[in-house]
């Protein structure tokens, strides 16, 4: 991004398998990352996302499968020959080198022959002295871009968390990589800085046009930054898609539960004869198979019937009522989080996220009674079979004509 123009970088993972000893870590992972794309590998800790990233980097070797960059197999290539750069969770800055030296290191390694890199030889040998001004210029250019040019003489220990983060980004950027790998780069920052650096990384991706692969356990990071998200669980790739695909159209229950905050509500239901019943309520929705189903309801899509102005339903949508027992209300400032249970399934906690309104005042509906009626839009419900796989309705619910 700094020197020459556009570089193509199509990253392809083909049937990657990996186990540590007898423990399988990755089961047959295939993934295409297109040129200039920002792909997040997201999943809980231990799901194999970092291992996958390290396989792309060449720090781990897969048991089988292939890693291709622009169609070329990289399996036999050393990390340095893959034209990738990596930012580590703890930044991995070289502790006794100054910021400038840290950032210059990849260039020194790439541009100088071995004899000129030996201690002291860089300033004596002609090759070393020749490359020196160019390296310095490149480092300063990147430092300026990341606004760390005043830190070049400091040691990593003298920097704050976000400054270290920028130095690590800078060290990765100077070498002008094809693919940029990041392993949870924000997890060591406090919440405020995380939001700020998150935006900076997104901007960096937009301005550099590089291919980014970003590992995180935080679905918010994955959703906000990525062009596409790849969700991993216990070594399996569950779903790959745009953030909205994963949120609105999850392939299975695990994806639905991982994406979204607070977590999606799950309640039992029954599918038979082209209808789905949840407790006493019958939904005009036909599922391909009959039998017990799990119904997923996003906390944002439930509204409290007697409290106008709550919830995300618009009045034109078809609605269904469900009996709800309120337990407590959390005030989040602009919104409230209502915890409770559905009358038909008193064991599973249901959360409702709603806009704040008068209903929460001391004489509002919610304060008066614990037994409420809530409404849901049947078309916004997600249905999952007993195996956790998504079941798509074969019909769409129509708006019920209600007379006032």
């Amino acid at each position: 991004m700094l020197t020459d123009g556009m570089k193509m970088a199509q990253l392809t993972l083909k049937n990657i398998k990996k186990s540590f000893g007898d423990t399988p870590v990755l089961h047959d992972i295939s993934l295409d990352v297109h040129d200039g794309e920002f792909v997040s590998l997201v999943g809980q800790s231990g799901c194999g996302k970092s291992t996958l990233l390290r396989i792309i980097a060449g720090l781990e070797h897969p048991d089988s499968g292939d890693v291709l960059i622009d169609g070329q197999s990289m399996l036999e290539a050393a990390p340095k020959d893959r034209n990738i750069a990596m930012v580590f969770q703890d930044y991995a800055l070289y502790p006794h080198m100054s910021v400038g030296e840290n950032m210059a290191m990849p260039l020194v390694m790439a541009r100088l022959p071995l004899y000129a890199r030996l201690p002291m030889m860089r300033s004596i040998t002609p090759a070393g002295r020749g490359a020196q001004p160019e390296i310095r210029a490149d480092v300063e250019k990147v430092a300026k871009q990341l606004r760390i040019e005043h830190l070049l003489d400091r040691k990593p220990a003298q920097l704050s968390g976000d400054q270290r983060q920028r130095v690590a980004l800078g060290r990765a950027l100077v070498r002008d990589p094809q693919v940029f790998l990041m392993d949870e780069p924000l997890s060591n920052l406090d919440a405020k800085l995380r939001v700020q650096v998150r935006a900076e990384i997104t901007e960096l991706h937009a301005s550099s046009g590089l291919t980014f692969v970003y590992v995180t356990h935080d679905q918010v990071e994955a959703m906000t930054m990525s062009s596409r998200v790849a969700l991993l669980q216990t070594g399996h790739l569950l779903q790959v898609g745009t953030p909205n695909d994963l949120f609105a159209d999850p392939a299975n229950l695990d994806v639905a539960q991982f994406i979204g905050s607070p977590e999606i509500n799950i309640t039992p239901g029954e599918s038979c004869d082209g209808k789905v019943t949840i407790g006493a309520t019958t939904l005009p929705i036909a599922l391909p198979t009959s039998g017990p189903v799990q119904v997923g309801i996003r906390p944002e899509t439930i509204s409290v019937s007697d409290a106008p102005g709550l919830g995300a339903l618009n009045s034109a949508a078809p609605t269904q009522r469900l009996a709800f027992n309120k337990r407590l209300i959390e005030d989040l400032g602009p919104e409230v989080l209502i915890h409770g249970t559905f009358a038909h399934a008193p064991d599973s906690i249901i959360r409702i996220r709603a806009q704040k309104s008068d209903a929460y005042s001391s004489n509002g509906v919610l304060a008066k009674s614990n037994s409420l009626e809530v409404t849901v839009n049947p078309n916004q419900l997600l249905f999952f079979g007993a195996d956790g796989q998504r079941m798509r309705p074969t019909t769409v619910a129509q708006k019920r004509v209600e007379t006032a």
Binding site: G58, K80, A85, M86, A92, Y94, P95, R171
Partner: protein, 284 residues
């Protein structure tokens, strides 16, 4: 306001005067302990400045009655090859230390950070080797050196010590604490493994290397046992070994530090050992 400045009549005794009986007892005990530690050195320095007959005199005094310091030290430094002995000690100790570092640092890096088959067995072997004292291996080593005709050389003096399992163990433990992510970042940046050691691990391991260097240097400087076995000629003697040949006692103390008396019978029987006299040597 309390007057905190010392009164004009204060003497030096007011400054050292114990503040309580408990402190007085503590001070006396500490003083006795310190004296026990320091006295041998005072004795050594005092004796090095006395004429021979006064050293053996039953009437001991710390301050020499006849001061012979200049003559004694002149004798050791200029009339005897003591500088050669010091130089030999230096060559042997520095040589051993350098080769120990050259072998131990890559070995411990491999044991600490590289994954390879059998690394734990190899490390177990290293640990086991710590338990073997030099005395066990000295006879086979001696026989070997005799056979290749390298007795009485610097090589023979350094050879048993060039690989220090203690150093491998110490550095391995130290290197294990080095963050893996920095090593991986270096690999992505294009460092070779040797450069990772030279540029990243070594600068961080300076405290461990310094500590080991002190141990190694002191141990081999003070070593009497091995030079005694393999050195015969005077021009290869180390300073510690040379102590043995100083007579009378006054000159010996001038050569400081005073080593314990060597076990001469053992020395002679080992020296008499030769390929032709295997049976007599084996009876040791």
């Amino acid at each position: 306001m309390a007057d905190i400045s010392p009164s004009p009549t204060a003497t030096w005794f007011d400054w050292v005067k114990p503040k309580s009986t408990g402190r007085l007892i503590t001070t006396v005990l500490l003083f006795i302990g310190a004296w026990v530690m320091v006295f041998p050195f005072i004795w050594m320095i005092s004796s090095s400045m006395k004429p021979t007959d006064e050293v053996y005199d039953a009437d001991f005094s710390i301050i020499p009655k006849t001061f012979k310091g200049f003559e004694n030290y002149y004798g050791v430094i200029f009339e005897q090859p003591y500088m050669v002995f010091l130089m030999n000690s230096m060559i042997v100790c520095v040589g051993i230390l350098v080769i120990q570092l050259l072998t131990a640092i890559p070995a411990s890096y491999a044991l600490a950070k590289l994954k390879f088959r059998g690394s734990s067995i190899l490390f177990g072997t290293v640990i086991a080797a710590i338990t073997i004292p030099i005395n066990v291996t000295s006879i086979p080593l001696y026989i070997g050196l005799v056979k290749v005709g390298l007795l009485d050389t610097y090589f023979a003096m350094m050879f048993p010590f060039i690989v220090s399992v203690f150093a491998i163990f110490l550095f391995r433990q130290f290197f294990r604490g080095f963050p893996d992510s920095i090593i991986q970042a270096a690999r992505v940046d294009g460092f070779s493994e040797i450069e990772i050691i030279l540029r990243l691990i070594l600068p961080s391991a300076v405290p461990a290397i310094a500590a080991f260097s002190v141990f190694s240097f002191v141990a081999h400087w003070n070593d009497l046992y091995w030079p005694l076995i393999v050195v015969q000629s005077q021009d290869k003697m180390t300073a510690t070994l040379s102590m043995m040949q100083y007579h009378p006692l006054s000159t010996r103390t001038t050569g400081a530090p005073m080593p314990p008396p060597p076990s001469s019978p053992r020395r002679w029987s080992l020296h008499s050992f030769s390929p032709a006299g295997c049976s007599s040597g084996a009876s040791l």
